[in-house]
Symmetry: C2
Subunit: 426 residues, 2 copies
């Protein structure tokens, strides 16, 4: 079995500017960014994820602002001066409950954000422009298409764009190609929120997540129902990230494909401020026991300032660093893991594969109509958790791959279990 | 009869920045603004209307950006250096087909833009902040609440906010009070698009337009159906502005209230580039024959650059000044009128009042359920135009005021005509 390429795993943070949050682009202050990056670098992490704001970078479809690109470049350079690599998300899109869609794609100009030719051409030009700006910088890791951009295709969205799985895949290919056009040698990703893993109607299926881009990305948030159902410090909550990593991996065709835990945070009130360090420690211990983990990027660097209104309450306290640039207790936990990462041994492959019948009829089928079983409280979710809590270190094997010995061998899986067997007392 | 206060009438332009259109706020360049204002001042006009962009000035409900206020102040000062007074619109809101609504009031945070407490409080704080910033500047005329903000309450809007007439009035009072709180001695307005005069369902009724703010404002656009029905250089089209001024005036309770023709433009292809100067000349001649006209503010100063995409085609050629800072033929017409304005005599009062039965049951009634008759092609529209074309200089008298001798006397109206009489051959 091929050794995973990313041992030790990377540790990083999602960079949320201390002053002005992502509105900082409107009052860009490189010295303020440098101060934030100083505090982040002091945690001992190796990378940050940075976020453009789409309507500010591309206020008109024909105008990707050169000044915005220069500012982003300066931010990446400031990170480099502090030994930090940078991955950049383009299409924001969505950040912490707020949507940012340019005026040329909303209300009177509203078009499908994934299928309208003009919109897609504009998005592609935008991603290429950012990637091109950053391509020559040695600490630039690559782009993510956009932070959970597929939220705009979810039925829960107030103004959803409707599309088919084939259209979703076409859009993904187009966006990733646009990133590659600008930065051919960088690693480009896309990110999905967990509804894509759970909602049987979501056009961004887990197969798309696991088969496009340089790696599979996972965003783990216990406010997805896990904390409410099981408790914020329950085994289920502190294993959610590990579960999502294994679950997302199951949909891949490449048995060696890495998974990037791109977002994980300790949201209040699901975990209190006092509980957050323990939540972080246990979550990280569990997820570091996942084979082929590329890295962990904590959400987020800095608390949101109270002078900014209308955020979901939890956003004001998600930072590892507070509004006075002081490292919080959870920040110390993440820093300790980051500092110890070079000593981490690669976890053994997971020998036990829990078989997931998500409704895919073959390894090539991009649909997963039965994926609701994977949501918190679902039969598959509970079976995996029960196995894990019992110490079995379960992987997940998509049903079409369960009969593929090469796939199983490549992943080191020697034993298959059906969910029904777990609840029968396996 | 009281002499109108604004003779000679003011001439001005709506300032559309040559580089970057209103996205210029993102790349604010005072020297570029100065160059634009030089070209505008050279037309001989006395004022400009300037536009903030709401989500850029107030990206979070709790943050009205000081830098944006400073930039706006610098723009007003640059105008002063060129002898130009400035009226500033706050809530954009809507500009040339594009809507700008901050992320804290849309999609996941979507609330009624006129009635939700948090949104209204945010809007009020924003308007007060702008007004306060500008209050001490001697060339600051005052605020307009926002450019045609009531579009967001129109049924034609893709995502309309629904509200009652009473709610619309309450919002207007709140917004105007917010302007006054910041600049107590300035003159504050609000602006309506012509659907408010024509659409019987629109909660912003003509009575609200004519009874709140320092003056009644009118936006005259022949693409409202007039050009299509009658032709771009038809008598109806070149008299549309005068008609709207007289129509809007009819809904006022103050017989001496002035009307400001805040927007008038020559839109292609309804009038060609070759026809635009004639359209401007005839339109201005007709509207200057309206008694109590405060001023005329042409839309707009500068053509939109072709590098900016997705504008309605007509927006690329509405400027009086082109992308090379050259005055266009229509600009020369407006400049000639502006230069001659001091010699203009106040037009005589209009002695003939065409009675409008808009469905208001009394002078205090704020509803106008029959106002569709005023739209292009409507019986009232046609009666007024026929009278005007026949040389009768018609004013408009709202039916409840037709039996009020004091009202008629104050306006100098000595003769009332019913629309049916016009078509009977009066």
């Amino acid at each position: 079995m091929r050794q995973p390429t990313s041992m030790p795993p990377r540790f990083g943070v999602n960079y949320t500017p201390r002053t002005g949050w992502f509105h900082h682009w409107l009052d860009f202050d490189l010295d303020a960014v440098r101060a934030d990056l100083d505090a982040i670098a002091a945690l001992g992490v190796d990378h940050v994820r940075m976020f453009a704001v789409w309507p500010l970078f591309q206020p008109n479809r024909g105008l990707v602002r050169p000044a915005a690109l220069r500012q982003l470049g300066a931010m990446v350079d400031a990170a480099a001066e502090r030994g930090l690599d940078v991955s950049v998300d383009g299409l924001q899109g969505h950040l912490s409950s707020f949507d940012f869609v340019p005026s040329w794609a909303t209300t009177w100009h509203r078009q499908n954000l994934f299928t309208a030719d003009g919109v897609v051409a504009g998005q592609a030009a935008y991603l290429t422009a950012i990637a091109r700006e950053l391509a020559g910088r040695p600490n630039f890791l690559g782009m993510s298409v956009g932070n959970e951009f597929s939220q705009f295709a979810g039925a829960q969205h107030p103004e959803p764009s409707t599309l088919t799985v084939a259209e979703a895949e076409h859009w993904l290919r187009t966006m990733l190609a646009a990133c590659t056009a600008g930065a051919p040698h960088a690693e480009h990703h896309h990110s999905e929120y967990d509804a894509a893993l759970f909602d049987p109607q979501h056009p961004f299926t887990p197969q798309l997540g696991a088969r496009h881009g340089a790696r599979t990305t996972v965003h783990s948030w216990i406010f997805n129902g896990t904390a409410r159902r099981y408790g914020g410090l329950s085994e289920q909550s502190v294993r959610l990230a590990a579960y999502l990593v294994e679950l997302a991996r199951a949909y891949g065709t490449d048995p060696h494909r890495e998974v990037w835990l791109q977002e994980i945070g300790a949201p209040a009130p699901h975990v209190s401020a006092a509980e957050a360090p323990e939540f972080a420690r246990r979550t990280l211990e569990h997820v570091l026991d996942c084979h082929g983990l590329y890295g962990v990027t904590w959400w987020c660097s800095h608390d949101v300032g109270r002078e900014l209104l209308d955020f979901p309450e939890l956003e004001y306290s998600l930072g590892l660093i507070d509004q006075q640039q002081r490292v919080k207790a959870t920040g110390s936990v993440v820093a300790a893991f980051a500092g110890a990462r070079s000593a981490l041994a690669a976890p053994a492959a997971r020998a036990v594969g829990l078989v997931l019948e998500a409704g895919a009829t073959s390894g090539d089928d991009l649909h997963a109509p039965l994926r609701a079983t994977c949501a918190p409280g679902g039969a598959f979710f509970e079976a995996w958790m029960d196995l894990a809590i019992a110490g079995h270190r379960p992987a997940v094997v998509l049903a079409p791959f369960a009969a593929d010995p090469a796939h199983l061998t490549a992943r080191g899986i020697t034993h298959l279990i059906q969910p029904a067997e777990v609840h029968a007392g396996t």
